[in-house]
Amino acid sequence: MTSSPATSSAVTIFKAARIRTMNPNRPLATHVAVRDGRILAVGDASDCAAWQATWDCTLDERFAERILMPGFVEAHGHTMEGSLWNNLFLGYFKRTAPDGHVEGGLKSIEAVVERLKEEEAKLTDPDQALVAWGFDPIYYSERMTRKHLDAVSATRPIVIMHASLHLLNVNTPVMERGNMLGQSNVEGILRDAEGVETGELQEMAAMNMAARVVGEAMAVRDVDADTLRTYGRASVNAGVTTTTDLHQRLNDDSLAAFLAVTKEADFPIRIVPALGAIQWALDEGIARATELKTQGNDRLYMGLVKIMTDGSIQGFTGRLKWPGYHNGAPNGLWNVPPAQLKAMILAYHEAGMQMHCHVNGDQASEFVIDVMEEALTKAPRPDHRHVLQHCQMADRAQFRRMKALGLSANLFANHIFYWGEQHYALTMGPDKARRMDACGTALAEGVQFSVHCDVPVTPLNPLFTAWCAVNRLTSEGRIMGPEECLPVEEALKAITIGAAYQLKLDHLVGSIEVGKFADFAVLDSDPAEVEPMKLREVRVLGTISAGQWYESAIPADQAPVPDVTIPDAPVPA
């Protein structure tokens, strides 16, 4: 670890009401001593007196009434969140922007249109496109059409990206400029019963054309410094001090951005990008991943490889085993042919890489388990720590195989709140929906696991993710599969040391113990002590990263988001 000789003697002691260390050897403490950004000692008031007698130190009592925990670790997020907020958020549920203000919570199409009108009125250049994101038609009884958007502006291009990122809504100017009216052969341009284009676009071709019409606002770019800085601010608000960026091309430009920003004195997070294997030809990808392992610093850790297999459950593109989707939708999509995925996984495994494999449906998770079994039989490797990401539909038998093979699972607990009702009614049906994101099974079968948000798909907020795993409450107040509920203590492990393990950083972060980085979440109450249903209401005041304080941008009096209606008597289902 780097340490500046000039500061090597300065010790800061943080005093807290309670320090929940997540270190089983000393679960609770009140004082933590920090030197050079690392934890020098953990103890209580009497320990502190001894430290003060020994070291030249400062006692910092700013957090004397607060709870400290290890900074939370998000093992499945995307820094894209840092650039999406350049556009208007139109979510059904409220969500906090990186600058701390709350957006969304739009409960009717009318409310969506009103919010768009407000934003449109602020634009001065008549040609500037209005781009929004996070709109999710699944919650509304009425379908948004271009008539709604033409009422916002009949001249300025408007594009609304859906939360699934599989569809767009556009207004008539976009249809016209994109040559999309009267194109009867293009199925990606949706039509109403009379054959009139509704302004909903799906599939790459039509969506690509809409993106071309609005130009810069929707241009696909690699990660840049501003995006990373904004993502850093969002992380502080959520108590996150270590995060993945789980799919990046990691070409020279994006690597340069990562290297530059992580060296900035006030960058508040440690970041673990994963090389997106499908963005490289196999040989080149392995060569690149190997080269990347030599890069990094205290705030940047390279070496993860992301393997994309199937799509998403709510987009009906996840790959399912029999009997498939509950509503009879056809089976989902592979990103690349399974034979090529297999060759890819075998090759990256043999090259010594740690893989995080995106698997949503149970056919995808079974496929990866099969391939991993072959890889580990051909080329046994201790402590490989390959992770099945999302792993939403794995059943008990698959978890047992994962245990046998030493595979970890990172479960998408936020899905239960955001789309649980849709899984119950449409995608999975009641029985399979009850065992989605099976934290309880993972725990019972001894599979190492974490829980995640997949930001920007759902908001970055590990305490909310833990709340989801603990309570399994849907947006309608249904407890979906109470047998899979996680004890609070286990959920807190999952968002700290459990996630750190999956990033091979558990020797550096994820608990408050001597020698690790001084990365803390500063909370107003103890998550282990509050009522489990109130876990989401625990307030994050900010983070300490490498001993340095970063204050949350969220105002103290702001109600927690998302806006959850908790019924008096939740219905177990």
Partner: protein, 312 residues
């Protein structure tokens, strides 16, 4: 031997024809792309998937003329990222006469074709889906990929059943039966090493019309060539006839003299057609050539307004 018709090589200025070649891994897409490139007399830009277990495909095609563009894998979770759109724009900037897109092994060719339908500078020429005669039946039975393979035949103008030499009778019979089910009514060409008549695939007008007519070809048992030489045709009857032509007529091109209007260039591909008024025809009357699979197709009769009688 009939002399070639005299038709301009670039009939519709600015509109670049696009051919989409799809099919599962191992069906012979790259072989076909290479055949087309090898036989080309025009500048063809090609979009290939530079991805896979071994990067053979792109290596085979890669040339130094700057007309080969590689598609890297985009994530289906965010369809906007990467992919065909930007590569097509880059290809168009190079001013090619035609564009070939090799869809990915799990891609759905009809979805790829939508790019050509939407892009103002492009027109969709033909959607070809290839199948591996050796593997097809087993692929369709494989729960991992069966539905993916089956979907690729939706929207195909031409199905190519390749590797028939290696399939053996039993597998070939199974593959033929599967295609009758998956691609009902579609033209199926059986090939070895993707050997198709090149004028069938080339989107630019010159190649079909200048090809020697009536030469003995390896595919004469599958493909038949037609010629129409007749007088002026009234527009309403002509348009009705064009809309009613059978889809197994894969391609029809040439000059039509429209009664009371003058000459127009006709380009008809598997049911999609356009008439472009033009004045540089050297001769009057209607002169068309076509290629398809029906042995006895009386196009003259059909175009003159007797669709019921023809093709029976």
């Amino acid at each position: 031997m009939t002399p070639p018709l005299n038709v301009a090589a670039r009939p519709a200025p600015g509109l670049i024809p696009v051919t989409v070649i799809g099919g599962f891994l191992g069906s012979g897409k790259t072989t076909l792309v290479n055949r087309i490139l090898g036989a080309a007399t025009t500048r063809i830009a090609v979009l290939v998937n530079d991805f896979g277990d071994i990067n053979v495909d792109a290596a085979l095609i890669r040339s130094d003329d700057g007309l080969t563009l590689e598609l890297s894998g985009g994530c289906i979770c965010c369809s906007m990222a990467e992919g065909i759109g930007p590569a097509l724009v880059a290809a168009m900037e190079k001013g090619p006469d035609e564009i070939l897109i090799e869809a990915s092994g799990v891609g759905e060719p009809r979805r790829v074709a939508e790019f050509a339908l939407l892009e103002r500078g492009l027109k969709l020429d033909m959607v070809v889906t290839m199948a591996n005669a050796v593997e097809l039946a087993a692929q369709l039975d494989d729960p991992l990929i069966g539905d993916t393979v089956a979907r690729q035949f939706d929207g195909a103008d031409l199905v190519v059943l390749n590797h028939v030499d290696a399939a053996g009778d039993a597998r070939l019979t199974e593959a033929r039966a599967a295609l009758r089910r998956l691609a009902p009514g579609k033209t199926v060409a059986e090939t070895t090493r993707a050997a198709l008549p090149m004028e069938l695939l080339a989107g630019s007008t010159l190649s079909l019309l200048s090809a020697p007519q009536g030469d003995p070809m390896a595919h004469d048992h599958v493909f038949h060539r037609y010629r129409v030489d007749t007088g002026p045709l009234p527009r309403p009857a002509l348009e009705a006839a064009l809309a009613a032509l059978p889809a197994d007529l894969l391609r029809l091109k040439g000059w039509v003299e429209i009664a009371g209007e003058g000459p127009a260039l006709l380009q008809w591909v598997a049911g999609r057609w356009e008439l472009t008024p033009g004045s540089d025809a050297q001769e009057t009357g209607t002169h068309l050539v076509g290629i398809g699979t029906q042995p006895d197709l009386d196009l003259t009769e059909m175009l003159s307004g007797n669709p019921l009688k023809a093709g029976q």
